[in-house]
Symmetry: C2
Subunit: 148 residues, 2 copies
Amino acid sequence: MAKTKKKESQWETATNEKLAEAGFRRGGARAAVVSLLDEQSCALSAYEIEELLAARERAVGRASIYRILEQLDELGVVSKVELGQAQARYEPIRPDHHHHHLVCDKCGAVIAFDDAPLERAVDSISKRVDFAVEGHEIVLHGLCADCR
Amino acid sequence: MAKTKKKESQWETATNEKLAEAGFRRGGARAAVVSLLDEQSCALSAYEIEELLAARERAVGRASIYRILEQLDELGVVSKVELGQAQARYEPIRPDHHHHHLVCDKCGAVIAFDDAPLERAVDSISKRVDFAVEGHEIVLHGLCADCR
DNA sequence: CTAGCGATGAGACTGATTCTCAGGCTAGCT
DNA sequence: AGCTAGCCTGAGAATCAGTCTCATCGCTAG
Ligand SMILES: [Zn+2]
Ligand SMILES: [Zn+2]
Ligand SMILES: [Zn+2]
Ligand SMILES: [Zn+2]
């Protein structure tokens, strides 16, 4: 069966470069995770990643998934987001698509949103506090249109 | 030994009233947790609550602590905050002391801060989205002054 | 082509949180 | 005050996400 050769996006390319620069060797498991993340516009849980990869012809061990996600997080190419759902989610960081999340407390739906004034307010605070701010996470809780 | 009779604050009083209104009976475990939370200005983890209560003369079972915190969260008098530390923290909601947190990724220190422009930005978004926003959580990650 | 060493994954382990259920206590009634 | 229904508690088992261990696999420098 012919393998679907997808076009690598900016993110996947940049991520592979950073991995190489950081001294990592190439490996099938990591490539599969990076490739899957590259297709996402919002966050996936480690469990979802495990399932999606298994559904393709490239299952990856759970230990590897967590190890890889941690490496990507440290490299600054992936963001670990805690939406108060007792499990972390991970999404690729694309400078041109910075966003935050609305979480439905009833059905768990996650909706992305972005807002310039909000970012400005956060940047402003970051400069004022005696703290080296490296990132921020903003989550709005409530009920989605369907659950209301 | 004389028991230190503390003055009930606005929060503890209001919480007890809401519990009664919601049809809850009174109970020693819950009263102890509510009283402890009332003394806090920022968030405690369930484990810390368990220890602090045990250190006094009123140990409360772990199951009860979690059950009670969940009830208080549902009543809207306690906020469950996830600071990305693999464990939730809980703090009383005091309308006049609304705040958010700075978390040191190195040592885990939690520092509270508040910012009017930030709240305004969040309120503004809340009104614009097709989502019934009931609350929000903002966490800034980075390195505290000591760990830098 | 081969050795050396990073990459991988099965499964045990940990730690936080949730569940179960027997016994305790409150609130309401007599 | 005494009695009862049913909420309140807590010890310990069960879950579950996430972490660790370690034997094996497979890059890649040479
Ligand atoms: Zn997202
Ligand atoms: Zn919903
Ligand atoms: Zn706080
Ligand atoms: Zn620190």
